[in-house]
Symmetry: C2
Subunit: 155 residues, 2 copies
Amino acid sequence: MPEAIDAIDRRILRALQRNGRMSNVELANEVGLSPSPCLRRVRLLEESGVIDQYVAVLNGPRIGLGLTVFVRVWFKTQDAEITQQFAETVRKFPEVVECYLTTGECDAIMRVVTADLHAYWRFQADHLTRIPSVQSVKTDVPMETIKRSYELPLL
Amino acid sequence: MPEAIDAIDRRILRALQRNGRMSNVELANEVGLSPSPCLRRVRLLEESGVIDQYVAVLNGPRIGLGLTVFVRVWFKTQDAEITQQFAETVRKFPEVVECYLTTGECDAIMRVVTADLHAYWRFQADHLTRIPSVQSVKTDVPMETIKRSYELPLL
DNA sequence: GATAATTTGGCAGGATATGCCACCCCTTGC
DNA sequence: GCAAGGGGTGGCATATCCTGCCAAATTATC
């Protein structure tokens, strides 16, 4: 039921990943189609869930959110109930921009965005480590961005 | 030069983070402004760099890119030249969606997107560990997504 | 090679974006 | 307290764009 994605669809996706507010006529020119079928393809990609959403990407430092931290989390136990409770709590923290459960060395990974190290420290001390299921955490702090892309490696 | 961001700007940013393709009239209604001043504020936010770009967020699994892996990298040496070479190489890999230099336990963190574990393994064996500056890597594989947001914690 | 299904392109009506100008509000200076 | 100035807002006119419909073309199927 998910229609096959052909070369034109890939061109559309590539273009919209770079500029999600592109007008349909501009997009149609770029992919070599007239506006009508181009728009129809975009709508199909949206409705079929290939395109999840469109978002504006903000410049963190420009709005006082200069620090991103990657946090690895270890749980006290791995049973489902404790994990569920952790998930629900984490989802409510706006500072936690991403969070995944992992198997392997640690139990969860998350990305936290705050104003600065002090703000992060407060978040960790006041909220993160107070979640009952959390045993310990380790943080990795990016010092310099080498690459930050929102384009998936199509093809 | 960076104009202050007031409450209306924050409302605009919040809305555009959730739906970057919102029409200007819809956005104006949501923030309580008429279309004209609303559009001008959006343009200012774009030109001043508060809004970096607009992107379409794709559903990875739907296009055959079901695996995201977090990789921690250790360098052989930390001198600037080696690091620079690492950065330039990594920027060319489309699978590497994000990459940061860190200080602390490891030397770099990256997020890699591939079709599956096998594809990741090929990437690691054929490309990543062949970068001269790379001494070793450790991977954390998300098994379940608890949260994935594109909204920065404004305010 | 003919038919059917899918996709494309063009067109018309409606909605939206854009640029301009007058008005309002708030501040500044007297 | 009052007048002048500046920034922000709202409304309007034009141009552009989106949207749905139908015919034509392309592709697939038999």
